[in-house]
Structure formats: C-alpha cells, structure tokens
C-alpha cells in the first residue's frame, strides 16, 4: 500500500513539473463556503537594470493571471457531500479564472481541508555508507523511518523530512555532503481519511483536469500568512474557515503539526439563524454586516432591524441590539478556540521557542477576534493576511484567500517530501534491470 502511495505522489509531482515547464498552473481551494481558483503563470526571473536578479520575495517567480471564486455547493466540513454540485462549483471557478487568464489550464493543485488530518512524527536512523552523506543516504534514512500503522482507511498526504541529525548534531536542514557516521531523520507524516480524498480526486478528474498535487489547507494557509521569522521561530496558524478550522504549527520553516477542528464560520451562521430565528442567508448577512465578539455599552443601543419572514411591516417587525448578536456569536467562537487550544496543547506547542499565533481564514474577519483569541489561547494573536503576490486582484487579498495564496507559494517553492528522494534499491522489488543499471552507474 505504501508503495502505491509513493507511485501516486510521484505521478502528481511529475505532472506538477510538466505544468511548471509549460508555465501555467491552476490553484484550486475547495472550501466549505467558497471555491477559489487562481491561474498562475510562471515567468523567468526578472533581471534588473544593474544586472542581477531583482530581489523579489520568495513568491516572486510567478504571477497571478486569473482569479475567480464562487459560492461552493455540496461541500460540508471541507469534504464533498454532493459530487454533482461540487463539480459545478469547481467548473464555475475554473472557467472564470480561465476566462480572465485567457489560457487553458490543464494542471491543478488542490487544497484539502477536510478528512480529519492527523500528524505523526516518525524517526529513522541509518549508517552512512561512504563517509559523506549522499542523496542515496537520505533516501535510505527516509525509507528506514518506522511508519506508524495509521489504518487502511487513511492516506498519507505529506511526508516532510523536518529535521536531520548527523551523529550528535541535530537541526540540519540539508545533510548532503556532510561527513558523519549515523544519519537520523525526523519525518512529519500527515494522513487524511481516504474516502473524502478520493472524492476530491474524482471530482477533479470529472472536470477534465489533471491533479498536480494536493495539500492540506492549513499548511497552505500557514505558508501564506506566517512571516519568515514566525516560521523560523515557531508559531501556529489557525485557519478559521467556514466548515473546518485548520491548525498548523511551524518551526524552522517546517510544518511540524497539522490538525483540524470541524467547526467554523458556518456554525456561527447557523447559531445566529437558530438563535434569532432568521433564515441562513439573512443570518450570514447579519454576521458579516453587524457581527462582533466584544460587546460595549454602545452596542446595547445599536439596534439592528431583523429581516421579517412574512414581510408584514405592521405586525412582523423585530429588532435586536448588536450586543444580542454578539451574545449569540461569541460562545461559538470561544468553543472553536477552546477546541483549537486543546489541539495545540496536544501538539506540544508550548515547548516552542516562540509561540506566535496567527489567525487567518474567512472567519478571522470577525471584529474583536484577536482579543478573544488571546484570552482563550493565552498568547498574543494577530490576524494574518496572506502575503502579497504579484497580479493578485485586490478582492482576493483578504484573509479568506490565504489558503489559495499559500498554495501558489507551495507550488513555486515546493517542500521536499519523502517521495522526492529515490527509494533505495532493496525496496524496489522486481525491477532488476533498473537495479543492474544503477549498480553500473554507481560503480563505474
């Protein structure tokens, strides 16, 4: 089973390389409330007047040439609930972005927020073959990791080598070429439930697109909204979406933990709908127009006209104060944040050197979320908007688009994954010819 997964991931990596060579690739963020699509054009590095390449940010090598988003249908908790509906949403987003870009896109990279991601830390240790660590040794040590039994109904989505140890030196990012005896690796393995993942793959296939990669959405959000210092020193990114709140912890520019809470902005909306007895679209409107988390004296006098169900001006008029609305919203937000705190505690976040928390995602736009989050999580929080990307429309620069932006950064600077290294020959089984050729190559 593991070998099969390797093949799937390798095929996706190959398709991504193809797309990068062709220069156009699409980013698809399938979320619970919206489906966003960006079309990226990869351009050769710009050369400035003084001859050297322009010091662009790490995301400078590409340009967004098409962007579209649409209300998503048939998706709950980041998982596909109605295939047909979801497919329509994806088609709408892809077509809009293609139209804006003027290019046809064939390869797409998808974020996946559902499927209950679970993190595992694995370690492996091998003896270095020829004194200096070669790429082959890295492959060996990655293959030597003891993979936990994560169950047959889950698939590994990421297998990131986060740390290498050579003898007694730890914290190496790239051990190749260094001399040592024992090479050890810490690998971060993220698995998700296979069923929802397969559904996503099937949906993409039904839209005539080729999948060039699939990324856990909280990972992508972290890439987009954390600054480099935060990624280096340790921080958590909390991506509060509509259906799922994703959580990722970064240390030394590596994601070391990913998890999700299956609650989000849609639950706040449904709370408002239930509590104030308004329809869900009206509740959504109330939330976005008047919502908040911290009530002040002014909010008691700030009366909001509720949309009437019957439309009768004389008999069916209701007014609530804004503090009532806040009173409905705040418990749900606190519940979400408490869940997040539980997950953070489980991850060992408190042992990191720096413990910054960055809130992003569509629901991070609720006014007052920072202070509530600081109080619940016990640390300083900030709202993280995604980094600026060349060509991104103004409407897509909000916190709701941090997953999409993070995906594009992930495409332009992909993280080394376990399957990018060559599997050692003894694990390849029946490919004797390849083995013989490799033996020749290594010895002559």
């Amino acid at each position: 089973m593991r070998r099969q997964l390797y093949e799937v991931q390798r095929a996706m990596r190959a398709r991504r390389e193809t797309a990068l060579r062709r220069g156009v690739i699409a980013i698809l963020d399938i979320g619970t409330s919206k489906v966003a699509c960006l079309v990226l054009q990869f351009v050769p590095e710009e050369v400035g007047e003084d001859g050297d390449t322009r010091p662009v940010l790490s995301q400078g090598a590409f340009r967004v040439i098409g962007a579209a988003n649409t209300r998503s249908r048939g998706i709950a908790f980041g998982e596909i609930e109605a295939m047909e509906e979801c497919e329509r949403a994806v088609r709408t987003a892809i077509q809009g972005a293609q139209k804006m870009a003027g290019f046809r896109v064939d390869h797409v990279i998808v974020s996946f927020s559902g499927g209950r991601p679970r993190s595992y830390g694995c370690t492996g240790e091998v003896e270095v073959e020829h004194g200096a660590v070669a790429e082959r040794d890295v492959g060996h040590v990655l293959a030597a990791c003891d993979i936990p039994d994560y169950g047959h109904d889950r698939d590994a989505l990421h297998a990131l080598p986060v740390n290498f140890c050579l003898d007694d030196r730890s914290g190496l990012t790239d051990p190749r070429g260094q001399v040592g005896r024992m090479l050890a690796v810490d690998m971060h393995l993220v698995t998700v439930a296979s069923g929802p993942l397969r559904n996503i793959l099937h949906c993409i296939r039904r839209c005539d697109l080729e999948l060039g990669g699939i990324v856990v959405s909280s990972y992508a959000s972290g890439l987009a909204s954390l600054t480099e210092d935060e990624q280096e020193l340790g921080s958590a990114c909390i991506d509060i979406g509509a259906g799922v709140t994703g959580l990722s912890v970064f240390l030394r520019r590596q994601m070391i933990y990913a998890d999700s809470v299956r609650m989000g902005g849609a639950h706040i909306t449904s709370d408002i709908g239930h509590g104030l007895q308004v329809s869900l679209p009206d509740a959504e409107r109330l939330k976005t127009m008047h919502g908040g988390l911290i009530a002040t004296g002014l909010d008691d006098r700030d009366m909001i006209e509720l949309p009437s169900i019957l439309g009768d001006w004389e008999h069916d008029r209701r007014q609530i104060s804004r503090s009532e609305l806040i009173g409905v919203m705040r418990p749900r937000v606190e519940e979400i944040l408490e869940e997040v705190r539980a997950r953070l505690d489980a991850s060992g976040f408190e042992y990191l050197p720096s413990q910054r928390i960055v809130l992003t995602g569509g629901s991070a736009q609720i006014p007052g979320l920072e202070s509530v989050a600081s109080r619940v999580l016990g640390r300083q929080c900030r709202i993280g908007k995604p980094h600026r990307v060349q060509g991104l429309p103004q409407s897509a620069t909000g916190t709701a688009f941090s997953t999409a932006v993070g995906l594009s950064m992930h495409v332009s600077h992909p993280q080394d994954e376990c399957w990018d290294f060559e599997t050692p020959a003894d694990r390849q089984g029946a490919r004797r010819v390849t083995r013989a050729l490799r033996w020749f190559k290594e010895n002559w």
Partner: protein, 295 residues
C-alpha cells in the same frame, strides 16, 4: 423533487456552466482551435462556396458574358472611337505607305487599339526613322513620323538602293536616274561606309563635276571614279589624306586633267600613274622623234 427543492432554496440561477459548455470553453481556449475556427473555417467556406458557384457552367458563362458585354459597352462609346488617321509632316507617298502599314481598320476603339504595335509596324518601314503614335481626344489617330533622308545611291549587288547616312536602306529604286542629285556608290559593303564615302566626296569637291561615283573594292578600300574612265585608287588606311594629296596635285599640276587612266595612291610612299594607251603611244612617238632627231 430535487429540482423543486433547489429552485425553492436558490431563487437565483446557478451560474455554473453545463458540462458541455465547460468543455467547449476549454476547447475554445486552445490557440490552435481558435485559429482554425477564426481563420481556417471562413477561408475554407469562402473557397468552397466560390468553387461550387464557379463549377456551375452557366453561371460562369453568364458572368463572363456579362463582363464582356460591359467591356464592349464601354469600348464602343463614341468618346473612344477613332475615325481618322493623320500623318502630318511627311510626303504624300510616305503617308500612304504609313497608312497601309499602320493596319488600322476604321472606326476603331482607342481602348482596344495597340498603339505600340502600330508604332512598331510603322517603324518597321524602311523610310521611317522614328514614329510617334497617339490617339487624340477628338477621335483622330495622329502618327508623327520622322522620314529617313537618303544621302547616296548605292548600286548594291542586288539592286539599286537609296541609303541614308547611317547606311540604312530608305528605298529601292529601279534606276539611278531617279535621284540624279545624290552621289553614287557601288560595290559590296559600300552601304556600310556611307559617312566615309560622304567625307571623300566632300574632299573631291574641286573635281566635283567630273565625279561619277565611289567604288568599294573588296569591302576594303575605295576607288574614286571620274569621267573619261579615270580611276583614283585610294589606300585602305587614311584614304582622306591620300585624296587630299591628289586634290593638291590636281590644283598644282592638273594631274587629272591629263590623259591619265589610273592614279594609284594605294602606297602613299609611291604614287603611280598609268597613262591611257593613246597617251602612251604619243609618248613613244615623241620619244622616237627626239631620238631620231638626235640620230
């Protein structure tokens, strides 16, 4: 049932493209397909349509008939008709020749008239050096011809010809007496050296009344023939100088007035005289008289 529920919950139309439309859009975004549909197909349709129309014979015939009719209608307009030919500035005789040679049947249309062809036909005439043909707006074809002027009569091996100064034949005549005013040259190749002949004749002006003509010998050199069958043989090179010398001798000693048959100047270092038979006999007689006296 499902559709009803959807209609109730989402009153606005779903913006999602249908699967077919989505695929068509993606196909349309391929540059090749786009090019074919935008340029290739219209081009092919146009070619096909015109081909099918042209393939029907009667349509093509109609089109060509209509076109030729239109052409005729324009050509036959009175503004373009030529009713007369004028040949100003040449002799009556030549004008008649030119009219015949122009080979234009009146009335003709100036649009269809090949003016260059007419000009070439006229310039092919011997007597015409240059011609200008133009159709005047008043319906007259004007042919301005420059006649060749004959300067010598050449008794050529195959007839008597009038030749202009470039050696080009102007006309053929049956008798030299047709143009007694022109000098006579004879011998093969004499027609090609008319300027030289004219220069020699100009030098021979002091005995002009006696000159009968110039004879080209072996297409190489000239003989000046005077009356009383006197011949002055001129050298191949620089005949003018030799002739001037003869003229000087004539002026000083009246050589040519004497009873001389041939004056041979071919060797400039040694001119020779040949007397006539009668003069020779007279010379003999005088010589014997003198010796008899002495004896």
């Amino acid at each position: 049932m499902l559709a009803m529920r959807r209609a109730a919950s989402t009153p606005r139309r779903d913006p999602a493209p249908s699967r077919l439309r989505y695929r068509l859009t993606r196909v349309w975004l391929r540059p090749g397909v786009r090019r074919v549909v935008n340029f290739g197909l219209p081009l092919m349709a146009g070619v096909l349509a015109s081909w099918t129309v042209m393939a029907q014979f009667d349509v093509r015939g109609q089109v060509t008939a209509w076109a030729s009719q239109l052409h005729e209608k324009i050509v036959d307009r009175p503004q373009f008709t030529i009713t007369a030919i004028t040949v100003p500035g040449v002799s009556q005789d030549l004008a008649e020749q030119i009219r015949v040679a122009a080979f234009v049947s009146l009335p003709a249309s100036s649009l269809e008239l090949d003016v260059n062809g007419v000009r070439e036909r006229i310039e092919a005439l011997d007597a015409v050096q240059r011609a200008r043909v133009r159709a005047l707006p008043s319906g007259i074809l004007e042919i301005q011809a420059v006649e060749r002027v004959p300067v010598v009569v050449w008794r050529a091996p195959d007839g008597i010809e009038l030749v202009d100064e470039n050696g080009v034949r102007v006309a053929e005549v049956d008798s030299r007496m047709r143009r007694p005013d022109l000098p006579l040259v004879a011998g093969p190749g004499a027609g090609g050296h008319v300027p030289e002949a004219l220069a020699l004749l100009a030098v021979a002006e002091p005995v002009g009344a006696r000159v009968r003509g110039l004879v080209r010998v072996g297409d190489r050199r000239w003989d000046l023939v005077l009356d009383r069958d006197q011949v002055v043989k001129l050298p191949e090179t620089d005949p003018l100088a030799a002739l001037r010398r003869v003229m000087a001798l004539e002026a000083s000693g009246e050589v040519l007035k004497r009873d001389v048959a041939v004056l041979d100047m071919r060797d400039p270092a040694r001119p020779m005289l040949r007397l006539t038979d009668r003069a020779m006999a007279e010379l003999e007689r005088l010589k014997t008289l003198k010796t008899g006296e002495d004896a």
